[in-house]
Amino acid sequence: MATRTVTFEIKRQAGPDAPAVWESFELEWRPGMNVVSAMMEIAANPVTADGKPTTPIVYDSNCLEEICGSCAMKINGRARMACSALVDNLEQPIRVEPLTKFPLVRDLQVDRSVLFENLMRVKAWVPVDGTYDLGSGPRVYPQEQEANYPLSNCISCTCCMEVCPQFNEATDFVGAATIAQVKLFNNHPTGKVFKEDRLRALAGDGGIQECGYAQNCVEACPKQIPLTNAISDVGRDVLTQKVKDWLRG
């Protein structure tokens, strides 16, 4: 049986300060292989296409079923999840690079903690901590559940931020994911208690106003989260909140 092979070109960098180099790898084709499984094979036999031994590639991944959000990288120029990037659907050579908008740690691993920091700054949680039993929560009607479920699918992969022209070091824009989470938690009957805080937070520098509505986020989101709808709804809510605040003095 003639062996079919797949070629990868991977951008590597030993550390934040180290020079970037491209390395090629040639792997035996297997049915259903994806970019993460290819990386695992390289780790098992870290030799480049021209036969030079190298180090295994550093990257983030966990669930391998597009649900943990850790394996986002640029594949053939586009930010996407590596575990759901099937080799059979990709043009070869498959070029893999780290996300470009986050501080690089090593190889394909970047530091995406800015998203978690942003989620904290908008209080993207339902406050139920306490020292006694609060009883059952308020009822959420099925209609509300349906509206909110898509928003709750966010896997914090940061693809929407990577592809956003406004998410960069000049604007320090918060990004679409956090805005969508504000909508989710503001819709929650208990989460609502922080609604005004969240809206005011999003009017800060780097807030929702920086969105240029290029709509890349919604194109790129692997979970098809209705991000542009969320930006529109939250945009209106933030504005109304600000106007109310000004009028109240």
Binding site: P19, F102, P103, R121, G204, D205, G206, G207, N229, S232
Partner: protein, 260 residues
Amino acid sequence: MATVQSSAVPTVRRGVEPLRAGQGTSFIWHKLHSLLGIVPIGAFLLEHLLSNFEALKGPVAYGEQVRFLNSLPLVRVLEWVFIFLPILYHGIYGVYIWLRGKSNIVYYPWAGNWMYLSQRYTGIVAFAYIIQHVLRQRFMGIMLPEHPGAAFWKVQHELANPWMVAVYVIAMICVCWHFAYGVWLFAAKWGITPGEVARRRFAYVCAVLGVLLAAMGIASIWAFTGPKYQNAPADVRLSTLVAPAHSGAAFHSIGSQLMI
């Protein structure tokens, strides 16, 4: 610290900072920029294109329109407060917004991303055009507020240069594109069209609006360059400058002037 290595190497970066929750004033400046684009700038654009349309009725009607606008109370204050200053702010802040964005159309050639880019290019063309247009037509040459009858002639003179015609046509398309997409963006970002379907429907509305305005604008340019009103007199007498009863006589005298 990091030394400069080959250009392919990112130097140490701080990364994008987290949200400055509730801090700063950029929200109001952005919203002001957005709002001014609709009122007064968009509203003025509509007025201007409608007024220009009068040119199709000839030098007298056009002069009348210019005279009427200049007869508005506090017109000099109005033009600064509702036209020049808002456009200056919208233009300068718009350039600032552009400079801080980082287009990535090469990697993500999607429709919305193209429109994002087009809004920036049409904006800069419109701004550059408007600056020269205001300087040359409002602040240089014969002063139209004092001589509204010269309006047609002045524009025709400007458009005698075919390069200027090209500039006007291109700028007209850019202005109308920027405005039409701007209205769409405004509705999307201010939460007026929060749904996919609403935004799609409104996109058709805005597209029709943009095409219509551009067509009207180009038709007005045609009024100045086409064969109908060639060699308009340098100053037509306007009927409203004389008593209404004599308007026929005034028109007659214009007719004779036109024949010169």
